[in-house]
Symmetry: C2
Subunit: 385 residues, 2 copies
């Protein structure tokens, strides 16, 4: 691709960098695997591994023991197949219309989710005998067989005959909230439909990140976390057991002194109430730092919390560093936008969204560093986006 290539500049002169701790990632995988056992763990690596880079993330998870992976799109599966020739790869978005032949050609398992998809899968050159998953909707109304479709299938004598179903699954709408009665209702609905369809013997999965922490009754044969692997809290409002994986830093480009009453940024939405020092930082909404953080977000300069003032621009944001020591608030200093003192989840809360959206929006301009799984100090490697 034609844009920024980190190799063009040593990372010590990069204006912003994203550090991804693959050792923490692998540790998160092992933690979930230990809690979920005897259930297996499949890793969700869709959306470029939640924005963190499919190749390094999938490779690290594989080295930690992952053998089953979930992507959303066919193209993601094809890319992952190149990286992991022997892994099981399931495509959650079902059978993309008109693209059925490609799944078997790349040994990808589509998770079929409607009678139309089942029919199209049967119409492929292999007659539907390549491995497939099946999704049953239990309350999301998003993907998977609807109640009406399950009824229609049950009315046939041998509704799924000839298919090689290797996984039957459903998805929780409120898996991050242990108190939500919908979790139990969805599990019951899923169990009932599996039985009605004669699929009680097929490997089954219900839990994503949240569900993996709802207790063993939700684990079934396979849990399939994504967010928790990447350090997000799997359960809302509870202590986060997962290690942080992401650190996002950007350099101060300029520090300026301004008088009381100076306006800042587009639309002059901030006005200083005292003589101030303002630091301009080399990241903006084009880098995935949401514009909704305008006048709301915080960053950390050392251990000092500094507020975003004015609107976040496309390539820049401005922090009020008046209360930070001058030796920290200087041109070239690193600011933590996401870091040990300010988690992805915390930033997301400030932005009015969820950590998932923050991660998947992480931009392409950062110099990306991957801390290796074995944790060897100093062996960071730059990786092209």
């Amino acid at each position: 691709m034609p844009t920024a290539e980190p190799g063009d500049r040593p990372s010590d002169t990069a204006a912003a960098r994203l550090t991804i701790d693959l050792a923490a990632l692998a540790g998160n995988f092992r933690l979930i695997a230990a809690r979920a056992a005897p259930a297996a763990v499949g890793a969700a690596v869709k959306a470029d591994a939640y924005g963190l880079g499919l190749a390094p993330v999938a490779t690290a998870l594989h080295s930690a023991g992952a053998r089953t992976f979930f992507v959303a799109w066919l193209e993601e599966g094809i890319a992952l197949r190149r990286l992991l020739p022997d892994a099981e790869i399931l495509c959650l978005n079902g059978l993309a219309p008109g693209a059925a032949e490609a799944y078997a050609a790349h040994r990808l398992t589509p998770v079929l989710g409607s009678l139309e998809e089942i029919a199209e899968w049967r119409a492929t050159s292999h007659g539907g005998q390549a491995p497939a998953g099946l999704q049953i909707d239990s309350g999301m109304a998003r993907l998977g067989l609807s109640a009406e479709e399950v009824d229609r299938l049950v009315a046939y004598r041998k509704p799924l005959e000839g298919l090689s179903l290797t996984l039957v699954m459903s998805h929780l709408a409120s898996g991050d909230d242990p108190a939500d009665p919908m979790n139990l209702a969805q599990r019951a609905s899923f169990e009932k439909d599996r039985g009605r369809l004669g699929l009680a013997h097929v490997r089954s999965s219900l839990a994503a990140s949240g569900g993996s922490f709802l207790g063993s009754d939700f684990h079934l044969d396979l849990v399939r976390p994504g967010a928790a692997l990447y350090g997000l809290a799997p359960l809302a409002g509870e202590a986060n057991l997962m290690a942080q994986v992401v650190r996002l830093q950007a350099k101060i480009l300029q520090v300026r002194r301004v008088d009381r009453g100076m306006t800042v940024g587009y639309g002059a939405t901030h006005r200083t109430t005292r003589p101030s020092r303002l630091a301009t930082i080399s990241a903006g909404y084009a880098d995935g730092y949401p514009r909704s953080l305008s006048n709301r977000g915080h960053a950390c300069l050392g251990s000092v919390r500094v507020p975003v003032v004015g609107r976040v621009s496309m390539d820049l944001l401005t922090l009020d560093v008046t209360d930070a020591p001058a030796d920290l608030a200087r041109r070239g200093a690193w600011v933590d936008l996401i870091g040990p003192l300010h988690s992805v989840d915390a930033l997301a809360t400030e932005a009015g969204t969820i950590g998932y959206e923050i991660l998947t929006a992480l931009g392409r301009r950062y110099a990306r560093h991957y801390l290796p799984v074995d944790g060897t100090p100093g062996s960071q490697t730059g990786a092209a986006p």
Copy 2:
């Protein structure tokens, strides 16, 4: 990069596609050039040409006559230099700390914005004699010489001696609002500071997209639009003269009938009030379709406006297509998320943001089609992200 490669699948089987009309882009450039003459037009192509792809966009603008380009980061300048060996390329984010030598090596013009940057530029191997720009802050408090720094420079006898300044510029905080008195105040401040610094003879620029439409008093020697080139309305609340450049379509993966009272999506935030048909679409917030459009956005199925129901997911969103004809609301049909009937600006308003953030967040999973500058029908070309 390891993720989706459009070449893996013919675009007619892609689940989502982004069409970028380079002829419309070129037309927008020519429209602004005609209005701004005798001022020249520089094109802002930072942030991967506002998310639309640096290589095809910059090449198309060059063919339409653009010879001066603005990027934000050094790395963007290096990438653009490879594409356009003879263009003038200015880096708006100033001199990245510690990276001074690279600008001259790639014949990039940093827009210096602080005394520290001027000093660092002078300390490079060429002694500061390579072409540079200078930014003077006139009210953004973001980049450029502060009032205090201008005073200090003026106190020197020959403050900028030895520098080869090829552009002096400032940036409007409310250029999209012709009624905002800040525009005149910023222009006056900029003119005054240029005079004080002895730069009245140097090529000057104040107007970005909005400023280009504030009248010839704001054009100075060079206007530097970005957003307007890409079809966004340059002035808030006025008719948009720019041609639309972007169309974003995604396929319906499933259509389901649901009863009255069914809940939809994460957190069950939508409940149907009648027997409904719901369509699940292959795009989500990982594709830059903001999660803030949950229960607020609209898409178009043919000419029928259909609302987003429930929360936008990472890879999927759900539309209520009950009021659309069944022959349109079917698996495999294309839905316009952005299109002739629903502009980028309109989508941004629904999402509570601005079109700039929508464009720069456009995801990497789409099959990208570029309609060529010469407008030849059927000569679409796929381009890797």
